[in-house]
């Protein structure tokens, strides 16, 4: 899919006026807060989205991500703070004066207009005269050529989603906002659209801000992710950074899974910290520790942990926890997922890839756990170890 090399958009008629400003620029939110009645939905948020990035705002429902998006779109007014696009302050501008377009969660296609009119809507409001060829081109691009005369009610969910995208993109906004646009699609279609969206963004170069509760989706598509919880950003960075070195228990649990074990820092050796885990010693590289003394959570991801028969010696300087018993085995094709209970009555999760070269274990086996120290991370013990854990009875997100 390629975007047409159209000329730069002329200033919209009912669009941004004021003094001439550079077209491009970063999206900067400073100290943004939003109160609804007595509830603080967004709390003193600072955020910079680099121009041309695919940015994901990730978090469970109710964390304030959609509210933040709507404030950027102009559909909500911030209670405090400023929003800047490049050099221009847009905090109080009406939505139709901002060079920002939104793809809504339920698509919000106008039911009384046909597809052609839906897509042409923004162009016509801005006074663009020769919109017909542009709309036709856009229809072809989203592979809905010939559907122009149909009504939204006659299209499938996936088709409606593409129309919503076309309707927004055709205006070449500086920032495209996407509010969980793939939520209503089935799995296969969702995966397909994720790749297509990513491809479009790379070719067009427009800044995308994508709001979602699906961490896999965010990690697949985004260059930068900001994880939000209860109105604040817990951590922001590349998918790798976030996954490999979470800053809080929320991020550790919300992205993938983590084993978090109560521990205490007891000393330092070279560039590593020595941590006491229920009587056993574990080393953690200093850069991977968020706190350097006192009680902590020692964390390691399940897929980084290996099981060995009890008593087997590990020779490569691995961290070890001995004396565990396998309490559950789940075979899921790609991997086998174990639960191992340790002597202090905590069950840790271990994912072993079914390479065929590893031992398999059954319930009741006595095992030792081992992993590379560079895969460990240390977090402040003040944090809630259950934060961000996806509830079993909450299918639509981390709850």
């Amino acid at each position: 899919m390629t975007m047409p090399a159209t000329s730069p958009t002329s200033p919209p008629r009912s669009g941004p006026e004021t003094s001439p400003t550079p077209r491009s620029g970063d999206l900067v939110l400073t100290g943004i807060s939003k109160d609804f009645g007595g509830q603080r939905a967004v709390d003193n948020l600072d955020l910079t989205v680099p121009e041309g990035a695919f940015f994901a705002l990730l978090g469970p429902s109710g964390c304030g991500k959609t509210t933040t998006l709507r404030m950027v779109a102009g559909l909500e007014e911030p209670s405090a703070g400023r929003i800047r696009l490049g050099e221009r302050e847009i905090t109080r501008l009406r939505p139709y004066k901002r060079p920002v377009n939104t793809v809504f969660q339920n698509y919000a296609l106008f039911p009384h207009l046909d597809i052609f009119e839906n897509i042409a809507f923004g162009l016509k409001r801005r006074g663009v005269k020769d919109f017909k060829p542009k709309v036709d081109e856009m229809l072809d691009l989203v592979e809905l050529g010939g559907y122009g005369k149909r009504r939204p009610g006659q299209l499938s969910g996936g088709q409606q989603q593409r129309v919503a995208l076309a309707r927004a993109l055709i205006n070449r906004p500086q920032v495209l906002l996407l509010d969980e646009p793939l939520g209503a699609l089935d799995l296969k279609l969702r995966r397909q659209m994720q790749l297509e969206l990513k491809r479009i963004q790379t070719e067009v170069g427009i800044t995308f801000v994508h709001v979602t509760h699906d961490q896999e989706e965010a990690m697949t598509m985004a260059d930068t992710i900001a994880v939000m919880n209860a109105g604040v950003i817990e951590q922001m960075g590349t998918p790798t950074e976030l996954y490999d070195l979470p800053a809080t228990t929320f991020v550790a649990n919300f992205l993938g899974q983590s084993n978090l074990v109560r521990a205490t820092i007891i000393g330092q050796a070279d560039q590593n910290l020595v941590v006491d885990v229920h009587g056993r010693k574990v080393t953690v590289p200093l850069p991977r520790c968020r706190v350097t003394e006192g009680d902590v959570w020692m964390g390691v991801r399940p897929e980084k942990v290996f099981l060995a028969r009890a008593g087997t010696e590990q020779s490569n300087g691995a961290n070890q926890l001995r004396g565990a018993v396998v309490t559950d085995v789940s075979y899921v094709g790609v991997s086998t997922q174990y639960l191992a209970r340790l002597p202090w009555d905590q069950e840790l999760t271990v994912f072993e890839q079914n390479t065929g070269a590893r031992d398999t274990f059954t319930v009741g086996d006595a095992v030792d756990l081992h992993w590379q120290p560079s895969h460990t991370f240390v977090l402040d013990a003040e944090q809630d170890a259950r934060a961000g854990v996806e509830k079993v009875d909450d299918p639509g997100g981390a709850g």
Partner: protein
Amino acid sequence: MTRAGRWIRRNLIMMFALLVLLYLFAPIIVVMLMSFNQPKSKLSYTFDGFTWENWQHPCRPFGLCDAVSTSLRIGLLATVIATALGTLMAFAMVRHRFRGRSGTNLFIFLPMATPEIVLGSSLLALFVSSGFGGQLGFWTVLIAHVMFCLSFVVVTVKARLTGMDSRLEQAAMDLYANEWQTFWRITFPLVFPGILAAALLSFSLSFDDFIITNLNAGTTVTFPMFVWGSAQRDIPPQINVVGTAMFLLALVLVLGGELTRRRRVR
């Protein structure tokens, strides 16, 4: 149970429903038949003979067409006023948050729940005590009609408005339409069927009203009043012509609306 028995049991409710519909339509059929009636004498109200004359000379009975014209004029005027005012109120109720909203809701509902005799007599009491007792006529009837149609308009338009996704208007503004353009291009077309339904309802309520009108009309005669008057004396068959015509017109409008709705996608 036999096959027939099972069929009956499954469709029992529908059969009963169709019987009720028949009950609803029986008088209409009578009205339509009677419009072709040639009464033997002025006093009989039975089917005596078939004739096209009634349809050819609908205005023969003295005062009938004047009464119909009066009803039409009042109906159209009352509809325009009630629909306009009621639509504004409906927008206020649905799209804005303000103190006393539920109280206003009740206030609007009250006229619908008051017996017509009370509505009519209270208005008469007002007119008399404020000195207009001698000027009952077209305008007092109009005032009364707008009053009781308002509530129905508000309820009908409200129903349509609440069903409307407000995100459509947000999407429009996101796509560079200002408030005015958003209203005319998005809100109004989508709420229009509700406004139209409210107008039709309003017109039929007004045209058909008797009790309130009778109390407040003075010497003016509307069509229902004419019917009432003739029921005490002789009933010209042309009354049924008007009745049938109204019914057919309404049927055409309702079916026409349904067909246009089916042709264009919801």
